[in-house]
């Protein structure tokens, strides 16, 4: 079954098992490996992308449900790593191993669309599903707030 979707602005036709999660289409078919596999059950958030502007865990979204949608991955968040969140992440030295950070940034980008100046509670709630085993939470919160203009 051929499925049509746009990924980072480019149209793709993929002929795969319709139950294959979007994550594996991105990683194994389209070779966009910035989106990570961490748990396969929407428990960790490493696979977070935007589908039609919504924050989605791609590891549990069958590709059939992505038919006709527009997907943005970390590779497409900005052309050159210049999204304000990416700049804030580099500036504040947020990443440790870096593996979860694409998912963290994609979720945070979704949060900022809704709440340009999020409170701690909004950050905690929105990023609750993005785990980081290295424990970069302190800096993730600081980077989001710095980017949103909160210097406290």
């Amino acid at each position: 079954m051929s499925i049509t979707l746009r990924v980072n602005g480019t149209e793709h036709h993929v002929d795969v098992d319709p139950e294959m999660p979007l994550l594996w289409v991105l990683r194994d078919v389209l070779n966009l490996t910035g989106t990570k596999y961490g748990c396969g059950e929407a428990l960790c958030g490493a696979c977070t992308v935007h589908v039609d502007g919504h924050v989605v865990r791609s590891c549990v979204m069958p590709i059939r449900r992505a038919e006709g949608t527009s997907v943005t991955t970390i590779e497409g968040l900005s052309p050159d790593g210049s999204h304000p969140l990416q700049k804030a992440w580099v500036e504040m030295g947020v990443p440790q191993c870096g593996f979860c950070q694409a998912g963290q940034i994609m979720t945070a980008a979704g949060l900022l669309k809704k709440f340009p100046r999020p409170t701690d509670e909004q950050i905690d709630q929105s990023l609750a599903g993005n785990l980081c085993r290295c424990g970069t939470y302190t800096r993730i919160r600081a980077a989001i707030k710095a980017m949103a203009g909160d210097k406290s």
């Binding site: 428990l43 990416q86 302190t138």
Partner: protein, 765 residues
């Protein structure tokens, strides 16, 4: 490196570096070995190899880099990072040491990740050892290159080398202010004899321009754009993906299987029986059945369809709850005395009062965000591995062993590691990929699912400690007895069951207490599963037990726990072996004169952290604070945790203070980051960590229950990190922040609720 593309083997670059570019290359070798080594363009760079590396060299001539620093004629300085990058920022730290000694501009330094090769010395990125183990050696590499550049410049100018300096990528003749760039000197310097390391002078600390300063995180741009290539991201032409059904019980094997349904899944190519491991298991693959498919999803689906029954073997009766009772019985009896000072048994008999408590810490998981994964490609007898490995040399050895070939035929490329914490020091997943690549005749990626990772972990060991203290009539602590029971990691290697010096150095033999009568006893504990190193390892439960017990002593004595710590530590001093009551202390591989067991440094961080946390005002402020301190990996950490009840009535940690003394610090921002991360790591194991086993199999299968980790909303909102400025030899950084977290939280919970937790986790699931 672009994502989705083949990772270019670094050897392609380095072969060019050694054989055709020419220029100056200084290799790593033990000091005595380098004396008549020369570096000529066109020759593999070259120190005379050490005995260990000679074997490697003779088997793989010219294929592996044996250099740390290279200066190209265009002035580009290439520095090899031989330690794995797993989140500690080592690629942003180690090369700075070399560059500073050299006098290079960081902007003109390229960092090259080393393959696994003994020519680099120890590459096992473990034990918080990268800085503390290589601080001087790597500086020597840079200083040697500098000495040779200066010698070349001095020769050209016909002046004395002592009149020249190296800074900012140029050599300057100080009296005349003439300069020559590194690049201009590279070829000439490369023709010079490599100086005797004993003649090479390191710079005074003040001349190291970047060390100890704010340093950029060099890989951050790659991480935040999805361009960093982790093990899971390696793509080779024609690569297949394998997902393996491994025996659920250690020592189990396939009873019967039928591959039909799995093979019917579109995309599945083969179902392959893996070789059965034999004890001792070490880093061997786990056996089972591999489903090899065109892509990950097909392999996962194929495995779900597998019809397989297991014969569970001798460990099928292992039940971690019942085992806990066995450990409790074990520490109720005297064990083998491992440490003794004074006469603790007599002192306990004569004590006016006895305080005693037993603590239990369960098996703990690693669960790095990137589950284990490796890619292998065979070319005839040769095997190439790309893997997120902490220990590429061990991976090389193990893959060679699994394939029945020589190490010379195996090359291991180190990718970024998506977390590791000790799990990725084992090479099981590398060997699995190699065996499958050979079997199917195509490159193979072995992908662990999260369930595979949790169920086939080398879990941290399980432990019970019984601590007994004797107090005299005045309340002074006159006796201390520490009984410990835990299966040793040695069991993985078939070594004697009882923990030995390597195990007990972590918080038992090195406990810097001044109690006049003190002993430690090792009690029986048998391993029933694969156990391995987890970030800070045995220190986790030793610090939990001791840190909790000191708090219990404070309750018993009705004095402030900080004062009990200070009483136990005694006056500031460096402890002798006889005061420690041991004949020998491993001391993390370092001599005691360089890295003493220093009660004064532990006192210092205790005093600093309690001051920072407003410890003395905690009652007036209505705060529930807990304190703990611990020496591990040659560094000293004290930590205060504040605990509150959340809106839902659950325990929450809202603020943490840490004081940390790791001696000389190279990259303060990464040290801070490691401590921030250690707090969260320690919280996860304290609050939720607990792998349970029933009928020999691990019960958890994903980030749930005992394998749950702290979320952002559970992380403390306020974290205060105080790093002690020190010129002492560098200690470890990645691990020492973890051990005091659990006892500090448990003590704060007691302050809040009056409930004493003597077992982890504090909250279940």
């Amino acid at each position: 490196m672009k994502a989705g593309r083949v990772v270019i083997p670094r050897r392609a670059f380095l072969r060019g570096l050694n054989l055709s570019i020419g220029g100056l290359a200084v290799g790593y070798c033990l000091p005595a070995a380098a004396q008549d080594a020369t570096n000529e363009p066109g020759k593999p760079a070259g120190p005379k190899p050490t005995a260990a590396s000679q074997a490697t060299e003779s088997k793989t001539p010219g294929l592996n880099p044996n250099v740390f620093v290279h200066v190209a004629p265009d002035g580009t300085v290439t520095i090899v990072c031989h330690r794995s990058e797993m989140g500690q920022g080592i690629r942003s730290s180690l090369p700075v040491l070399i560059a500073d000694e050299l006098g290079a501009q960081m902007a003109r330094v390229k960092i090259q990740q080393a393959d696994g090769d003994k020519v680099y010395g120890d590459q096992n990125t473990d034990g918080s050892n990268s800085i503390r183990g290589f601080y001087e050696d790597l500086r020597l590499m840079g200083a040697t290159a500098r000495t040779m550049l200066i010698a070349a410049a001095a020769k050209r100018w016909n002046v004395r080398p002592g009149e020249c300096s190296a800074q900012d990528h140029v050599i300057t003749h100080v009296p005349t202010r003439r300069t020559l760039g590194f690049g201009e000197l590279a070829l000439a310097a490369g023709k010079l004899k490599v100086p005797d390391p004993k003649s090479v002078v390191l710079r005074p600390r003040a001349e190291l321009l970047h060390v100890g300063k704010a340093l950029p995180l060099i890989d951050a741009p790659a991480y935040v754009t999805g361009q960093a290539v982790f093990g899971a991201d390696v793509r080779l032409p024609g690569m297949l993906t394998a997902v393996i059904a491994r025996p659920p019980v250690v020592g189990g094997k396939i009873a019967r299987f039928d591959p039909k349904r799995a093979l019917a899944v579109p995309g599945v190519r083969r179902v392959i029986e893996m070789p059965q491991p034999k004890p001792p298991y070490m880093f061997q693959p786990w056996g089972g059945l591999a489903v090899v498919a065109d892509h990950t999803w097909a392999a996962m689906r194929g495995r779900a369809e597998l019809d397989v029954e297991w014969e569970h073997g001798p460990n099928a009766t292992y039940d971690s709850e019942r085992y806990k009772e066995q450990l409790a019985q074990s520490v109720a009896q005297p064990g083998e005395v491992a440490r003794k000072h004074g006469d603790p048994e007599a002192a306990l008999k004569s004590a006016a009062r006895i305080v005693e408590a037993t603590y239990h810490v369960p098996h703990l998981p690693h669960i790095p965000m990137e589950p284990p994964v490796a890619v292998a490609r065979m070319d005839g007898q040769r095997c190439e591995i790309w893997a997120p490995t902490q220990n590429p040399q061990a991976a090389r050895t193990e893959v060679a062993r699994a394939l029945g070939t020589s190490e010379a035929n195996v090359q291991v490329h180190v990718t970024f590691l998506g977390g590791a914490f000790g799990r990725k020091s084992k090479a099981d997943f590398c060997s699995e990929a190699a065996l499958l690549a050979r079997e199917v005749g195509a490159p193979v990626r072995v992908q662990f699912t999260r369930a595979d990772d949790v169920r086939h972990d080398y879990v941290n060991t399980v432990s019970t400690n019984r601590l007994t203290a004797g107090l005299d009539e005045t309340g002074r602590i006159i006796a201390w007895r520490h009984r410990t029971a835990f299966p040793s990691i040695g069991s993985l290697f078939g070594l004697p069951v009882r923990p030995g010096l390597d195990d007990l150095q972590q918080g038992v033999l090195d406990l810097a207490f001044a109690v006049p009568n003190l002993s430690a006893e090792v009690c029986d504990a048998t391993a029933h599963t694969r156990i391995g190193w987890l970030r800070s390892v045995y220190n986790i439960f030793q610090a939990f037990s001791v840190g909790s017990f000191v708090d219990e002593l404070a309750q018993a004595k009705r004095v402030d726990v900080r004062d009990v710590w200070l009483e136990l530590l005694g006056p500031p001093r460096q402890m002798s072996l006889s005061e420690l009551g041991v004949a020998e202390l491993k001391n993390y591989g370092q001599p005691l004169d360089k890295h003493p067991v220093d009660a004064g440094r532990l006192r210092n961080v205790l005093e600093r952290v309690t001051r920072a946390a407003g410890w003395d005002q905690r009652a007036q402020q209505g705060r529930s604070l807990g304190l703990a301190a611990h020496r591990s990996f040659l560094s000293y950490t004290a930590l205060v945790a504040s605990v509150v009840k959340s809106a839902t009535g659950k325990i929450a940690v809202d603020e943490v203070w840490v004081s940390f003394d790791a001696g000389t610090i190279i990259n303060p921002d990464r040290v801070r980051a490691q401590l921030e991360g250690s707090i969260i790591f320690g919280m996860s194991l304290a609050l939720f960590g607990g792998i349970t086993m029933k009928q020999g199999a691990i019960e958890q299968d994903n980030y749930r229950g005992g394998a749950r980790i702290v979320r952002i909303g559970e992380a403390p909102r306020r974290v205060h990190i105080d790093i002690v400025e020190s010129d002492a030899a560098p200690g470890g950084v990645g691990e020492p922040g973890v051990p005091p977290v659990a006892p500090a939280i448990a003590n704060a919970v007691f302050a809040l609720t009056g409930q004493r937790a003597r077992e982890l986790p504090l909250i279940r699931g």
